[in-house]
């Protein structure tokens, strides 16, 4: 490409950037993303610095909510990292998540005769199985259809049937007749996933000598915020500020356990070799499927494994969210499945990185939500966060392989 007297061109790097340097580049990309988002909000008449400061404080106050969001994002993202590593682009985690929420609600509805000790595990099992089934078309179209990109198309298109099914069920058979809105009934309290809410944890800094009416937040009126939030499911007592861990259900232990399992068996290198055969095969198929095939690996089996895990974990996330946090279905899909794509890439397709980036996106999401509630920002303003950051993180992936050079002509 020619710009005035300079010729600008892409050049492949001699060696791809990896390791610590890659992390630095990702963090830099993140800051670029946050800057651009700041500019967007600046156009909306919002001071970006104040925005980020508020997001920080809101998250300190609402740390349990952040953790609640973290569970969902972590489960979906860990599931995504595995197919992404095999270069199978499962961008339809949203659909697998939604179908997981349906599985949870359906299980609680139709198996209500079961003891909760059996019912709750059954919810998770059903969520996993149905989520995985929802991901299967990707396997067949990608492995047997023989055209690249089938994974992207098939996984994305499977989002819509899931959402439509949810809309149908919630506005039809599962509708709660007592509310005016299209909501399902609540999952009976006994069938909900236990939460950490009973552990009232004391916050050393916040309730020491802070009078909340006197703290001035640039944007958020704390009283207003809390009143706004108390309309929902979260109850916070302003006078005795304690973290209330009711949004954090015990799925968090499952999520962290699965993260470690995935790390230990699939992503971890020992002596420069992955720990398991499937981990190695995912590596090879991801980097060069032709060599994998020539060596005798089954492309189909690897994709099947990846997508079952991916869809299953998204399904589990749906179960956790509906039976541990929301307790009822609505008609809109929340978009966690799409945010998780950004989480996964920011985490560098590595479970440990994803732990950090999932927390980061939870912070943005909870902070953004609170500000949305109090400031009346449009509902889609939040999507700007994940969209812009994903863009910059993917741009960083490009710069790991290429550089831009210019020369005078």
């Amino acid at each position: 490409m020619r710009i005035f007297h300079y010729e600008v061109f892409m050049q492949k790097r001699v060696s791809t950037i990896t390791g610590l340097k890659a992390i630095r580049v990702r963090i830099f990309a993140l800051f670029c993303g946050l800057t651009v988002i700041g500019i967007f909000f600046g156009f909306l008449g919002i001071d970006p610095i104040a925005l980020y400061v508020d997001i920080f404080w809101v998250n300190i106050l609402l740390f349990p909510n952040t953790l609640g969001r973290f569970i969902t994002l972590l489960l979906i993202s860990i599931g995504l990292a595995i197919p992404f590593k095999a270069r199978i682009d499962n961008i339809g985690a949203e659909g697998q998540y939604v179908i997981g929420t349906l599985a949870a609600f359906g299980t609680s509805l139709y198996f209500s005769f079961l003891d909760p000790v059996l019912l709750i595990p059954l919810m998770f099992i059903n969520g996993f199985i149905i989520g995985a089934i929802w991901a299967l078309p990707v396997v067949f179209f990608r492995a047997k259809g023989g055209f690249q990109g089938a994974d992207v198309v098939a996984s994305f298109l499977m989002v819509f049937p899931a959402v439509f099914l949810m809309e149908y069920l919630v506005s039809g058979p599962w509708r709660d007749r007592e509310t005016g809105f299209a909501y399902s009934s609540l999952i009976p309290e006994i069938n909900r996933i236990p939460v950490l809410g009973d552990l009232k944890i004391y916050i050393p800094l916040l309730d020491f000598h802070l009078d909340f009416s006197s703290i001035s937040f640039p944007m958020v009126n704390i009283k207003e915020l809390f009143e706004g939030l108390s309309l929902g499911t979260i109850q916070i007592n302003i006078d005795t500020i304690r973290w209330d861990f009711s949004p954090v259900h015990i799925t968090i232990f499952l999520a962290i356990f699965l993260t470690l399992i995935a790390y230990y068996f699939i992503f971890r290198y020992v002596n420069g070799i992955p720990k398991t055969k499937i981990g190695y095969e995912i590596n090879v198929i991801g980097k060069n499927p032709l060599a994998g095939r020539t060596a005798g690996m089954s492309f189909f089996k690897v994709i099947l494994f990846c997508m079952i895990i991916s869809g299953g974990l998204a399904g589990l996330a749906g179960v956790g969210e509906i039976a541990g946090n929301q307790f009822r279905l609505g008609t809109t899909s929340p978009g966690y499945g799409f945010t998780a794509i950004a989480v996964t890439y920011l985490g560098g397709l590595n479970p440990i990185g994803i732990l950090v980036s999932a927390l980061f996106f939870s912070v943005l999401s909870v902070g953004g939500n609170a500000i949305k509630l109090t400031k009346g920002l449009p509902g889609t303003a939040l999507d700007v966060f994940s969209g812009v950051i994903l863009f910059f993180v993917l741009l960083a992936e490009f710069f790991f392989r290429y550089t831009i050079k210019w020369r005078r002509v």
Partner: protein
């Protein structure tokens, strides 16, 4: 004589696959009016790149046509300046699904496309240059390799260029066709056209060229006036040897000793295999082969005569239409590639991309077979790490660490990684290894070539049954016990290495029947 083309200080650098390649480094080259100028060099010496810069400008350097400096940014500009080229890689240069006429649109004039006009023009030019029969309405994929090459030459000639560039024009032509081509070139020369000829066949250069420029590793080694040099050479062979030494720049291969061994057991037998290529053409026709332990069977043939498809069909990487493959008395037809490889079959493919994962480490690449030897879903990390250390040692792979990506290694060391991995496959129950190697030394430097060939002979002595597919006749002749020649998907004949000479194998490769060769 006037100089029609002058190239000064031409540089071209390629980035990619982890290495920076200076394909052309300050190359000076000139072409006189009415001469045939041969451009010689090893694979990767930068010959094709140099003529390529005439169609896609170089990184730096000056190109003068008839003394005027020109900027040749794209092939169309070059065409308008009177340059015509027949390229080497026909898969990139011809569109397989189009007809011959559709491939030659360079002469179309005006806004609308008239295919009939082009077809008429093609037939006229074919007759004028005596290039033989070609139907302009035939689609490219239906043509044989030689016919495709003639289309490519026709494509270069049809615009009646002043400077004609032929990049390996004879690799797939029969001896008669080659003779005709050089007669044609001499006629063109007499009409004052200038010709650049790139060839692997040194005798073509020595016999037909006026001057020879030799490239080595992107630099010009020497430019020789052929007519003057011929007076000094006692024979054609001496000339060829002198040029070969300039091309290689070091001593060529020393002779390998093949100890006499008596093969006993049949390791692998294939019976009547038929297979099609991607275009649906039957390119393997009823091929049968037998490999014994302690034996190297050389499968000779000009590349593109169905050897690649035959090997793929054997390994069930490609579906065979009919035929059977037996390994040690067991029918393995249509078994999965993994099942076949687990019987002790190792495979070194010609296409390196099928054998190496450039972004993974040397160690991970060396594990591609052995990772699955453990009985559990886990990999035995420590054990495998040790195995790879030993392989790096034994095959002398030069790498800073086993953990660097293969991408950072040189071409020779990359091939050593493949060779190390495949040659160390352990067959079950102490049976001999079955080794299928395709052009194992293609594009390698002399040292590595020698190394790979020695290893092949060592494997043979250790009891392996080896199928050596190669288009390099020297390689076939020095290594094989038995030589089978493939032509247009058929085995033309199988010759014992004692009866095989360069001449008779060459004739078989050109499609002459066995009875005629040995009558």
């Amino acid at each position: 004589m006037d100089i029609v083309l002058e190239m000064q200080g031409v540089c071209k650098t390629f980035y990619g696959d982890g290495v920076i390649v200076k394909a052309n480094d300050q190359v000076n080259f000139n072409l006189k009016k009415g001469e045939i100028h041969a451009l010689l060099g090893e694979n990767g010496a930068g010959k094709s790149t140099l003529v390529g810069t005439l169609f896609r400008k170089p990184d730096s350097g000056i190109i003068r046509l008839n003394g005027k400096e020109v900027e040749l940014n794209d092939p169309i500009t070059a065409l308008n300046y009177g340059l015509g080229i027949a390229r080497q890689d026909l898969t990139k240069s011809l569109i397989e699904r189009h007809t011959i006429a559709e491939n030659i649109l360079s002469i179309s004039k005006g806004f609308f496309l008239s295919l009939t006009e082009i077809e008429n023009e093609i037939i006229k030019v074919l007759n004028m240059y005596d290039l033989g029969e070609l139907d302009p309405k035939v689609r490219i994929w239906k043509l044989s390799g030689g016919e495709k090459q003639r289309v490519e030459i026709l494509k270069a000639l049809i615009s009646d260029p002043d400077i004609l560039i032929l990049d390996e024009p004879t690799s797939m032509l029969t001896p008669t066709e080659i003779d005709n081509l050089f007669k044609l070139l001499n006629k063109l020369k007499a009409r004052g056209k200038s010709i650049i000829l790139i060839s692997h066949h040194l005798e073509e250069a020595v016999n037909y060229s006026d001057r020879i420029t030799i490239l080595r590793q992107g630099k010009v080694v020497d430019t020789i006036d052929t007519h003057k040099a011929k007076e000094n050479w006692k024979s054609e062979e001496e000339g060829i040897r002198a040029i070969a030494n300039l091309m290689v720049g070091r001593e060529s291969l020393y002779d390998l000793y093949r100890e006499p061994l008596k093969p006993v057991n049949v390791a692998i037998e294939i019976k009547g295999i038929n297979a099609k290529n991607e275009m649906g053409d039957e390119v393997v026709r009823g091929v049968g082969l037998k490999l014994m332990d302690n034996q190297i069977v050389g499968l000779a043939g000009i590349s593109g005569n169905g050897q690649a498809e035959l090997v793929e069909a054997m390994l069930n990487l490609r579906k065979a239409d009919s035929g059977e493959v037996w390994i040690r008395g067991m029918n393995i037809t249509n078994k999965s590639i993994r099942a076949i490889k687990n019987l002790g079959v190792a495979y070194v493919p010609e296409v390196r991309r099928k054998a190496l994962i450039l972004d993974l480490s040397v160690r991970e690449n060396l594990l591609l077979n052995s990772y699955q030897y453990s009985p559990t879903p886990m990999i035995e990390n420590d054990n495998n790490a040790l195995i790879t250390e030993e392989l790096i040692d034994r095959f002398n792979i030069k790498t800073p660490s086993p953990l660097v990506p293969v991408r950072t290694l040189s071409g020779g060391n990359r091939q050593k990684v493949v060779v190390a991995r495949e040659f160390s496959v352990i067959p079950p129950d102490g049976a001999g290894l079955i080794l299928i190697v395709e052009n194992p030394t293609f594009g390698l430097d002399v040292g590595t070539t020698q190394f790979v060939r020695e290893e092949l002979l060592k494997m043979r002595a250790a009891g392996a049954a080896i199928l050596l597919v190669s288009s390099d006749l020297t390689e076939i002749l020095t290594l094989s016990d038995v030589i089978s020649v493939m032509y247009k998907g058929r085995i033309m004949g199988t010759v014992d290495s004692e009866d095989a000479t360069r001449e008779n194998i060459g004739l078989l490769m050109g499609g002459v029947e066995l009875e005629e060769v040995f009558s």
